[in-house]
């Protein structure tokens, strides 16, 4: 079964860390990707850029509206995600706990549902 691991960070706190520590996290995250690849759990992962870089899009009555900024302003925001293949929720939790950033942020573990076409 597939699970999404969503990493939430307080970026302000993160940016207060010395540069060497931040760099350490980046490398540790990349090492972690490799570990997940070799254990067969890895599907994909990436790091969204800061919410200040985001645009939010809506289409209503055929009209496009773009808001400059994230969908929701929050203190902790999505800073990275994994999609993994795990046997069950407890295995996904174990793998989430091994993410280096879990020591400074929070990791939400969500089972991923596969949409199926509905006959209409």
């Amino acid at each position: 079964m597939k699970y999404m691991l969503l990493i939430y960070l307080d970026e302000a706190l993160y940016l207060e860390m010395p540069q060497s520590e931040q760099d350490g996290f980046v490398n540790a995250m990349l090492d972690h990707d490799d570990r997940l690849r070799s254990s067969g759990h890895y599907v994909t992962s990436d790091a969204p850029m800061a919410p200040s870089e985001a645009a939010t899009v809506r289409v209503r009555q055929g009209k496009l509206a773009v808001i400059d900024g994230p969908f929701m302003e929050t203190k902790e925001h999505l800073s990275g995600f994994y999609i993994i293949e795990a046997r069950d929720l407890n295995e996904a939790i174990r793998l989430a706990a091994e993410i280096p950033l879990a020591t400074v942020g929070s990791v939400e573990v969500r089972p991923v549902d596969k949409l199926e076409r509905i006959e209409q």
């Binding site: 070799s38 254990s39 759990h41 069950d88 929720l89 407890n90 174990r94 089972p111």
Partner: protein, 411 residues
């Protein structure tokens, strides 16, 4: 060849729990062991399609898991204090373990998952996941719980085992009877949950019953004992009736009304064999006695031919060994079935007055049934309504409702 061609899924199902059990002993940690197990299977699915399945896949997997763990420990910064000592120990392990050592580890895993410091719910969840290999999602579905709640239960149970430094062992002789009771209790609970299931999730529930029986069998292999045999016998005889206990509409059919030709005779025979084995050990406990009672029912060709005297005698012994209000209730019902309706009713009434069973719908249903057979319709109707109020299982509720409707017509 692909990993599937060499039957790796089948090897996972039959061997992964045994491999895990030994890896937990070697690594001293559930999570590390689970990781090593996964790595071992990844290695197997790369290597076996090329080189063929080794003669002893279990040994191979344990050894692969061990080396993967050594490798990881060397690289990891997580276990700084323990690392050198653990790596040394792991490196000194013999290459191939005797089967007995693997069986001993399997038993250690069962006793650890059923340790009395854990809540009963935690023991059940942990045993089903670690010993039976069910997924968190399957356990949640079977017990009608939310998946994250079960996951949390499992995480906490493992943390408790780690924090309390619960030794990974089969208990010493003096503690064995109590600890074995705790294990059998978990198996019994899993079986009961499956057996007293409501409709809707029947399929999953029957898987759960099969899992309980598998565990029961495993225990008779790993730790033959009177009560281990007794519990397996009890489950087999009960399982023999599964095709007869619900009507095609999903309504409950009482033992007396079941079509006995639907009973699975192989399961009855096997169950009765285990009951005999249990009696032969001369260590006769509550499971064996309950199994013997079920066996008496199972050997009656028709409900009217049930040997109630023998059943009452077995209940008398059971009351001495494990007194409980529920056993007293069942004995009272048996006395009623033997024909002493007044005596049976007096015993049920006395139990209800004592109060311990006042919320137990079976007690009210028994009272209702005895009154009905005595022709006291009003008292019967009152008690059936009380039972319905307390009953949560759909098929049983429908049964009670039918009885109420039939009686209400006569007023």
């Amino acid at each position: 060849m692909s990993p599937r061609d060499i039957g790796i899924d089948e090897i996972w199902r039959s061997q992964s729990r045994r491999v895990l059990a030994t890896l937990i002993r070697l690594l001293g940690d559930f999570d590390l062991a689970e990781e090593a197990l996964q790595d071992a299977f990844v290695a197997a699915s790369r290597q076996w399609p090329r080189e063929g399945v080794p003669k002893n896949p279990t040994s191979w997997l344990i050894s692969a898991g061990r080396f993967q763990a050594i490798d990881k420990l060397r690289r990891s910064r997580r276990f700084d204090d323990l690392r050198p000592e653990l790596i040394r120990q792991l490196s000194e392990e013999p290459e191939a373990l005797p089967d007995q050592a693997i069986a001993d580890d399997h038993l250690r895993l069962i006793f650890t998952c059923c340790h009395p410091v854990l809540s009963l719910e935690a023991r059940v969840a942990l045993t089903l996941r670690e010993v039976c290999g069910l997924t968190t999602e399957e356990i949640a579905r079977a017990f009608l719980l939310r998946v994250p709640a079960v996951a949390q239960r499992i995480v906490r149970a493992k943390a408790r085992i780690r924090d309390d430094e619960i030794p990974y062992e089969t208990p010493e002789h003096e503690h064995l009877p109590d600890r074995l009771d705790a294990v059998l209790h978990v198996i019994y609970l899993v079986f009961n949950e499956a057996y007293s299931a409501s409709s809707g999730t029947d399929l999953i529930r029957s898987d759960l019953a099969a899992e309980a029986i598998r565990l029961g069998r495993l225990m008779t292999e790993l730790l033959p004992d009177g009560e281990t045999y007794g519990l397996l016998g009890l489950m087999l005889v009960h399982a023999s009736r599964s095709a007869a206990r619900l009507s095609p509409e999903g309504d409950i059919v009482l033992l007396a009304d079941q079509d006995r030709s639907l009973w699975n005779q192989d399961l009855i025979n096997e169950g009765c064999d285990f009951v005999e084995k249990a009696f032969a050990t001369r260590h006769i406990g509550p499971y064996t006695l309950q199994a013997a009672i079920s066996a008496v029912h199972a050997s009656a060709p028709a409900a009217e031919e049930t040997d109630w005297r023998q059943i009452i005698a077995l209940y008398d012994v059971l009351l001495r060994v494990a007194p409980s209000p529920v056993v007293r209730l069942n004995r009272a019902v048996a006395i009623g079935m033997r024909g002493d309706l007044e005596k049976g009713l007096a015993l049920v009434d006395a139990l209800l007055v004592e109060g311990q069973l006042s919320d137990y719908h079976h007690a009210h249903a028994a009272r209702a049934d005895l009154n009905r057979r005595l022709g006291r319709d009003k008292a019967a109707l009152y008690a059936y309504r009380k039972a319905l109020e307390l009953c949560r299982q759909e098929p049983e509720r429908r049964f009670l409702q039918r009885r109420i409707d039939a009686l209400a017509q006569s007023f």
